[in-house]
Symmetry: D2
Subunit: 137 residues, 4 copies
């Protein structure tokens, strides 16, 4: 079974919109932090370090789908259960389940790549680094 790492979020006043619920782009902010935190907890160095040593500048998103099941508001504590259920040749699937008081309120599944800089600007997908994969499995 894939390793799971939990990232904790305290929902703040400013994360909520005039309807008094979390403004949804903030979920993606937290999911991106949970994605990064997953690698940190698995022992992967910062992207600043990997950029210098091997040209990996980060793990940008290629594709995402998300389902919003119940709302959250400020004062709530959310837990983002994060895993990588699937590795492909040049991409991987990262999965998130956000819970509040034990209930799942949001689910998200992404495809991400390990990116390097492309000559002339922009980024390109690098092959999955086997040592990083080994740390995360």
């Amino acid at each position: 079974m894939a390793r799971e790492v939990v990232y904790t979020v305290n929902v703040e006043f400013g994360d909520c919109d005039p309807a008094k619920i979390v403004w949804f782009p903030n979920f993606f902010r937290w999911i991106d932090a949970a994605s990064r935190n997953f690698f940190v907890q698995c022992g992967v160095p910062t992207w600043t370090e990997t950029e210098a040593t091997r040209g990996i500048i980060g793990t940008p998103l290629v594709d995402t789908k998300a389902k919003f099941i119940a709302v959250a508001t400020y004062g709530d504590t959310l837990y983002i259960h994060t895993s990588i259920p699937e590795w492909r040749t040049k991409s991987f699937v990262q999965r998130y389940r956000v819970t509040k008081d034990g209930d799942t309120i949001m689910e998200c599944e992404e495809v991400r790549i390990f990116a390097g800089k492309r000559e002339g600007g922009g980024i390109r997908a690098l092959p999955i680094p086997e040592d990083i994969r080994a740390l995360c499995d």
Copy 2:
């Protein structure tokens, strides 16, 4: 064919991350603004007004999927082509195509609802308001 409204975004320095490309949650910020702008351009009043007159507090997201095709950076101008290709009983599909220099760099398709407040907190889906639908078609 469904009506299309275009929302323009000037990408700013602070919208970009250390990899010098747009940090993806910002795309969802803009898409939410494009969603709202669509209704404004169709003549739908503010949610503050609709809340007072008929209990509609907004159109929160139920479901979203997005594909990131090419990157953008600060200085770029993006155009978000927005439409509602499908109306259901208590929800609707809103679609976005983000272009830069004529190329599609991101696509997104959402399911949203018209929401009212639920007794005791939270929100609930209201039936699609026929007059608002008529304005948007």
Copy 3:
């Protein structure tokens, strides 16, 4: 001496700009959360509750000044030391000192009010609620 509450921030990749340092508006995001957290730690209820029971919708900002002393980047942990050194008739001063590895990297001093809704839209300053002040001193 005024009570001090510490709010902890883990700086994320997306909080940083193309110069690889925290994009400064994020400091104000965190400071607003630290402001709110100060009241929570002192036992003040949520603004949703105070709005229902006594018309206080929050503590909006009137005035702020801040000094940026050193930069932070993702992976850093910041501590926001928060206090209310001064109470006035219809406003109060809230002070923040942000530290990283024991060094002060940012300082901020704000004037805030307890706000209620004004007839016809907008907000107005309410007299300092003595019971809330007593909780915070």
Copy 4:
């Protein structure tokens, strides 16, 4: 008299908080964009370009003070009147006046520097580039 450049902001739903007014850190987001826009309108190239050609990575903030005079909400259009009233040896003052319907609702005055990278991480203040100053005066 110092040159003035106006930056326009359309306030969106997601820019507002549960009190239905603009969440103040968003003002700093817009002010940072207005700061950058000022240089763009004056003909200064992107920081990506200046970093490559002369080591200038941007104009980070050293010091800011702001006054919030009246609130704004979604649907409002704001105009940020931006100028550089003062140049110092290694820093400059940038001033902002935000108007809505002809009234000033926020004022801000910053000290910024032209920054280069420092050996071993972090940034350092560069002398004011005279050619950039000439473009902005």
